[in-house]
Amino acid sequence: MTTPAHTTQSSGLTVQALTVGYGREDVLHDLSIPPLAPGKVTALLGPNGSGKSTLLKALAGLVRPRTGNAGLDGLDLTRLDHGERARHVVYLPQSLPAAVHLRVFESVLVAARASDAAAGPVDLQAIDQLLARLGIAHLALHYLDALSGGQKQLVGLAQALIRHPRVLLLDEPLSALDLNYQFHVMRLLRQETREHGLISLIVLHDLNVALQHADQAVMIHEGRLHAAGAPADVITPDSLAAVYGVQARVESCSQGRRQVLIDGLQAHPG
């Protein structure tokens, strides 16, 4: 598979007036987000239950929004059929790949071959190279059901990246990784995003990771947009107090990078 050439300037991903819910509950309320540009890593922030995962699922077409749309160069992602959407968007759920009796290499191949749209031959060497870039080439012939949580998470990333999406939606891709791999993966994602002009929207829990690695940040709270912009403008003591209910400082470290320090809980959250 080859990456589609981005000859024309993409206008990015837009989310407009999205309302999504399960049963009678609405999780996202009329949510609009400023356009997400290609080649940028956007951190999606917010406390538990704020609707981050639901937003990703709606963009990936796994839940149908009640109203609103998500546009990508004139396409409405929420209305496309399965195969068509899978050509543009990949979503990686929070859960790790199931522990099945498949070799790592096969599981990545399956991800590339699963949709009808990808009926052409898959370049097996490309899988080799991708696994090497993720630092798991030595696991290629291991079975998934014999891997650790962190290793499975890296395999999950390989499954997403082999599809060469234009929009990459990752739900907490670092949750099972140690510090070294967290850094490695974020650097790799940034590099992939730049090189291929991806629109990467990544749910991150670690605000310091967001400050260090993301190009921009979107913070949502109770299904509504709280702030969007440069990470340093979004992650502020005020927004952390309002959204997370914590007393926090954002200070520059000795190397000039911003760091979030949590001092305590808000007396009156919200």
């Binding site: 399965h82 990949v90 859960s95 991800a111 699963a114 949709s115």
Partner: protein
């Protein structure tokens, strides 16, 4: 020499090895068929068997009946039913994401048996179906209903693995009780027919039933193979598969239709033969992994080997008597079932 650094090369090598394994299984089936064909209560000598097979016109009419109407159809039926149940079990375990799933353990076969018993005893069935196909059609209808019910419970009930198994067991008991109820009201002659279903026996195989099951399998296997990548992707998790472009709903429904068709025909023709659909997928998974391009046909072939061997055993357990093969598979299958339960910590 293969370069150790290239996983792609090693993977190609693995694919070739799997293809070889498939060929080996095919050879094993042929071998088992051969033995199954040569053993039987009539104790015909080898020479007579081959002569009758090669030149049926010149052979003794008794030999002809034994070879062409009994031995051959039932030996082929054993392999075919094994294939059908092996494939059905493999698809079911994937669709329900459940290592204990099989047509027999989760009530699909029992439902089919109930449908068949309604047709046998009460001649109850869908209007417009020719009388000769009433049993098979009824079995299919009830099997499909049971399969869809299982799927609904697994999917919308939000039930975990053991919950689905318990629901399936409840269906087994329910349909068995209903079959007993039908038995209770049956005439002596119908009862005799019915007992045959509950035990599972190859004795009544005919060329027609062999042909129909072969046709159904020949339709189901290519359809399953066409979805093999999608089914493999489903193993990685439902959301993941959907995000990779798999229409999960369509894959599930079509797989369940195939499962229902194959297990219903198997039940309609030979009764409830248990545990093939449970055991074969586990063995196939060990042999081939879960790439469904190999796992699905592998499970079908393993099922055929097992049932052929069981058929041979059923002729040798007691001298001069063919024990219903369902009894043999249950005796072999139950320890296996228990070992799966004990080994896996079900969620």
């Amino acid at each position: 020499m293969r370069h150790a650094a290239s996983a792609a090369g090693a993977y190609r090598h693995i694919l070739r090895r799997r293809a070889g394994l498939i060929a080996l299984l095919l050879a094993a089936i042929l071998f088992a068929l051969l033995i199954d064909f040569t053993v039987g209560p009539s104790g015909l000598p080898w020479r007579a068997l081959w002569q009758t097979l090669a030149a049926p016109g010149d052979a003794d009419p008794t030999y002809r009946v034994i070879v062409w109407d009994i031995r051959l159809p039932s030996a082929l039926m054993a392999a075919l039913v094994g294939m059908a149940l092996g494939l059905a079990g493999a698809e079911m375990q994937t669709i329900l994401n459940n290592p204990l799933a099989s047509p027999f353990t989760l009530g699909v076969s029992s439902a089919a048996a109930f449908g068949a018993s309604l047709a046998i005893v009460l001649q109850f069935g869908l209007p417009g179906i020719p009388a000769g196909w009433l049993i098979a059609a009824n079995a299919f209808l009830f099997a499909l209903l049971a399969a869809l019910l299982l799927d609904a419970v697994a999917r919308w009930g939000g039930m975990n693995t053991s919950g689905v198994v318990l629901f399936g067991i409840a269906m087994v008991f329910t349909f068995n009780a209903l079959v007993s109820l039908v038995q209770f009201t049956a005439s002596a002659e119908a009862l005799q027919n019915l007992v045959f279903w509950t035990m599972g026996s190859l004795a009544r195989s005919s060329w027609t039933t062999v042909g129909v099951l072969a046709l159904a399998f020949a339709v189901a296997l290519p359809l399953a193979m066409r979805q093999s990548w999608k089914l493999t992707a489903l193993r990685l998790g439902e959301d993941r598969a959907a995000s990779f472009g798999v229409d999960v709903r369509r894959v599930r429904v079509s797989a369940l239709a195939r499962v229902s068709l194959l297990s219903a025909l198997a039940v309609a023709f030979v009764g409830t033969i248990g545990f093939i659909g449970l055991v074969a997928p586990h063995i196939a998974r060990r042999l081939f992994g879960e790439d469904h391009r190999f796992y699905l046909p592998g499970s079908a072939l393993v099922g055929a080997v097992i049932l052929s061997l069981a058929s041979i055993a059923s002729k040798n357990l007691m001298p001069g008597v063919v024990v219903p093969v369902g009894i043999v598979t249950a005796l072999v299958g139950i320890p296996f079932f228990v070992s799966v339960v004990l080994r896996r910590q079900l969620p």
